[in-house]
């Protein structure tokens, strides 16, 4: 995004709103650090600019800059990757899609979240080791289209700064402990950003969650909050 310097009065009301702290005021004019900006659009949408000085220049929608918007602006329709959203519907429609079936476990590692943001290349700390282990990344996730067959981020987008991107995949449950340990190890090499780790798994017939004892064994804390697919969708997928 950019600031129309003729309109800006340098009041600074916009400053708190930028999620990446990319706006600064100099000589009574606001400027956006183009390296830090993730094109999330908050500055254009936020209501406190008295002069409506923020705008989206055409280059925001040109490759590879357009990647920033895809992974930053939730109002964006994401034509540049051909996939809508930063991830899939994962658990939200799992009762009808069967994306993660019984006997499988789904991983969602959201790099840059919360608050920090990330360069696209940072996902390699986990995507490369995963691909080496034969894990197939979710094809409907927009991040996957930015990786080559080794899990490396393509040269044209690797330096792009984005708000967050999700490394998404499912593995057979018998590989859960091995892959969880791989992610645990990758976290130690994640030096430039953070990631939020989510798991998707089916409930067992008796209502238990098979992943819980494995996580306890690995010493991985399980917060009390979760997202539960209640199972009211039709046609119901019982795989």
């Amino acid at each position: 995004m950019k600031v129309n310097q003729e309109l800006c009065v340098g009041c600074g009301k916009c400053l708190p709103f930028c999620p990446q702290g990319a706006i600064h005021v100099e000589n009574r004019k606001a400027f956006i650090d183009q390296d830090a900006c993730v094109e999330c659009g908050i500055c254009v949408r936020q209501i406190e600019c008295p002069r409506k000085a923020f705008y989206e220049p055409p280059e925001v929608n040109e490759w590879p800059r357009s990647v920033r918007k895809v992974f930053g602006d939730p109002t964006e329709k994401h034509q540049s990757t051909g996939v809508r959203g930063r991830g899939t519907e994962e658990v939200k429609t799992n009762d009808v899609t069967g994306r993660v079936k019984r006997g499988e476990i789904g991983f969602a590692l959201e790099f840059g979240r919360p608050s920090i943001g990330t360069k696209v290349k940072e996902v390699e700390v986990v995507t490369i080791p995963l691909v080496e282990k034969g894990v197939v990344l979710e094809p409907c996730n927009p991040l996957t289209s930015l990786l080559d067959e080794t899990g490396r981020v393509r040269d044209d987008v690797r330096e792009e700064k984005i708000l967050s991107a999700i490394v998404e995949f499912a593995v057979p449950f018998e590989r859960f402990e091995e892959i969880a340990a791989l992610v645990y190890d990758a976290a130690k090499h994640c030096k430039n950003t953070v990631f939020s780790w989510g798991l998707v798994v089916r409930y067992e017939e008796d209502g238990t969650i098979a992943a819980v004892p494995v996580l306890e064994k690995l010493g991985i804390h399980i917060p009390k909050n979760a997202k539960v697919n209640v199972g009211l969708g039709k046609p119901f997928c019982n795989e």
């Binding site: 708190p16 709103f17 930028c18 999620p19 702290g21 999330c40 209501i47 930053g72 939730p74 109002t75 959203g85 991830g87 519907e89 994962e90 658990v91 939200k92 799992n94 009808v96 993660v100 959201e110 979240r113 919360p114 608050s115 920090i116 943001g117 708000l163 967050s164 999700i166 976290a187 994640c190 430039n192 950003t193 953070v194 990631f195 939020s196 780790w197 989510g198 798991l199 998707v200 798994v201 409930y203 017939e205 209502g207 969650i209 996580l215 399980i222 917060p223 009390k224 909050n225 979760a226 997202k227 539960v228 697919n229 209640v230 199972g231 009211l232 969708g233 039709k234 046609p235 119901f236």
Partner: protein
């Protein structure tokens, strides 16, 4: 994506934070589901969500009406609402069961309480998305009390500087906790931010003489 997941806070605070997601599945049951989802929003609206919205038009917190949200439904329509109690969520599930629309229903919040609600209605939940916390360069994260606010917007639209700014204004008596809660939530476009939960989180910053 999992933008309702990874919310942080005390057990007491999170007990006032339940998110409903009713989602039609592309290529499976989305075709012709707009009217169903409009009925869902009408029915759950009567229960009293504290926020709702859509990426297409914005949130009730930013002045958008329910009619505008319904009119903005896409070909893959979704209903997203936040409720401030387990009792409200229980009533929502009861009504959705009665409607029996065959559209996927997901609830984010304290897992054991959600499972208890399901059991009360004889529902076997299908699958779960567990949050396993934050990993990597955690020393760059804001303080926990700031994270509790910003993780209410999983899209990352609420900045740490806006949270700090709102807290400072409450401390200075320039905003009430209620005003700060609304201001802080204004960047959230999908309606997942919970202003009712934010108010008591902000009240501790009110200067002593205002109490």
């Amino acid at each position: 994506m999992s933008h309702s997941l990874h919310r942080r806070g005390t057990a007491e605070s999170l007990s006032h934070d339940y998110i409903l997601l009713v989602t039609a599945a592309a290529g499976i049951n989305a075709a012709g589901s707009k009217d169903k989802l409009r009925r869902v929003l009408d029915v759950v609206w009567e229960v009293g969500p504290v926020n709702t919205g859509s990426n297409e038009v914005g949130t009730i917190l930013s002045g958008v009406s329910i009619e505008e949200i319904k009119a903005g439904f896409t070909e893959i329509p979704r209903v997203r609402c936040v409720f401030d109690s387990a009792d409200k969520m229980r009533e929502v599930i009861r009504r959705l069961l009665e409607m029996d629309l065959g559209i996927s229903v997901t609830v984010s919040g304290p897992r054991l309480e959600i499972e208890k609600i399901c059991a009360e209605f004889g529902i076997k939940p299908h699958s779960v998305n567990l949050s396993l916390d934050i990993w990597g360069k955690k020393n760059e994260l804001p303080e926990e009390e700031i994270l509790e606010f910003i993780t209410m917007c999983g899209h990352g639209m609420i900045s740490r500087s806006l949270v700090v700014d709102c807290i400072e204004k409450v401390k200075a008596g320039r905003l009430t906790p209620e005003q700060a809660a609304v201001r802080m939530g204004s960047p959230c476009v999908c309606g997942f931010y919970n202003p009712t939960r934010a108010i008591p989180m902000l009240q501790k910053y009110v200067p002593a003489e205002k109490h």
